[in-house]
Symmetry: D2
């Protein structure tokens, strides 16, 4: 990954079942579907912590994805249950940075990824400073942050 | 098909290339993707004849799909170029009925399908009579209708 | 539906969460994704009762879908949890017939559908009689069949 | 992008039409679909220059994707025709590196991306040196390489 984030993070794990139609002619999950798994994980994260698209909209905000990245280590197969671990790294800039780890049965690391979102208003104009909604969100969950070992 | 439509129709053919990611573990196109091909064909039809979602919206109309059907005869494979033939059957009721034929290289019939849409206003309330937009559309293309042999 | 099946059936219910990326510009689930939900339901059914693609393969069989049908009554939206009820109707012919009901929160009926699969050998040659695997499967679960009221 | 490739490249442009079902609730193409566009571009490239999955398979090779990256600048919308420019950067290592640019009507740069594939044998064992197939391919098209300005 370009910038391996090191700071404190808020984490949520969600499970995804590989669908028959997500597997390609080589009998492994087509690589593009991992961005679906990341979206699922982001959504589960948003529901767990109260940080959903709907909450953004209610505050007059959109949060379009402006960057994604994924590295693939081992293939996932039909019937696999995957655990997607999503970590949000709070930051002062007006952006949302997630890191992802995809594991099979809490074991093999299949892939890791990263996404960056920005905040815009409902007319897609970029927010230059961190919106109040995000600031309050970070404060609310300060105590739940995981601080990685030095 | 439940009701094999027999009346005059307006026809448009469009080509679709089978994508790698549309092929499943059995190395054939996963059956659900045919509804994508039908959507593509409907859209190409709309552009050819001036009967697009955007035209509906501009007239205060939506046209949600309320029924789909597909029969599969032969599998499509990665690399195939498919010809989707879409036929619109004008009718007096406030609905849009399409029939579809999927062929490989103008030859083998791989599948045939059918879709029904209704008209609603922008609040999803059902239109009980044929909207003016559709009436004018049918009149405009009356001369282009194909009348099947008896 | 063309042929509303009336006989005894084997039933399994599974839950599906509507993904953000399954919702279209009208903010409802794009109609084609219901075939994904049916596939998910069929797979959950296969796992519950021991009637999976893998079981077919191990017996030298494929079970391609040869017909699908869906009727849409009410739209599903982002964030909805859907219950897909899949009913298998055992029959003497060498085919698998499923019926589906899609409900939101055990309540509103959003859609109903149907799929037909045939059995083939691994070279895609049609099985003309019911394979032993299916016969034994029907016998095994005879006691679990639900007999609808007359 | 992590490593902005600077060397000579082989280029192919392909056009993709945004499908109705690729647009999300915000009426823009859901970001994950760009990996589909990249796959389409890679496939068109492979057909143009003779560097397709089928060619790899015939030589006993697979070429799984091990890394993807995408940056999104402007949203694509329903009805847009996108031009995907794919550039292959030949290298001595046993990997395939592509860069992508997504433009609307040869104008606005909507997104840029990158993918890395490795070569493996048919049992997914990594090739440690550049396969003969790739070496011959690079030699064959040496004269077609575009050398960027210093």
């Amino acid at each position: 990954m370009r910038r391996k984030r090191q700071g404190p993070y808020l984490e949520h794990r969600t499970q995804v079942r590989v669908r028959f139609q997500e597997v390609d002619a080589l009998r492994v999950v087509w690589h593009g579907h991992y961005l679906s798994y990341f979206e699922d994980a982001r959504e589960a994260f948003g529901e767990r912590f109260g940080f959903r698209y709907q909450d953004f909209l209610a505050a007059g905000l959109l949060a379009p994805v402006v960057e994604t990245q994924c590295r693939y280590f081992l293939p996932a197969r039909h019937g696999d249950t995957l655990e997607i671990c999503a970590r949000l790294y709070p930051c002062e800039a007006a952006r949302i940075e997630f890191g992802y780890h995809v594991r099979r049965s809490h074991a093999d690391l299949l892939a890791e990824g990263r996404s960056v979102q920005v905040f815009t208003d409902l007319d897609w104009s970029l927010c230059l400073t961190l919106p109040e909604l995000a600031r309050r969100f970070y404060q609310r969950w300060q105590g739940a942050l995981v601080v990685p070992d030095a």
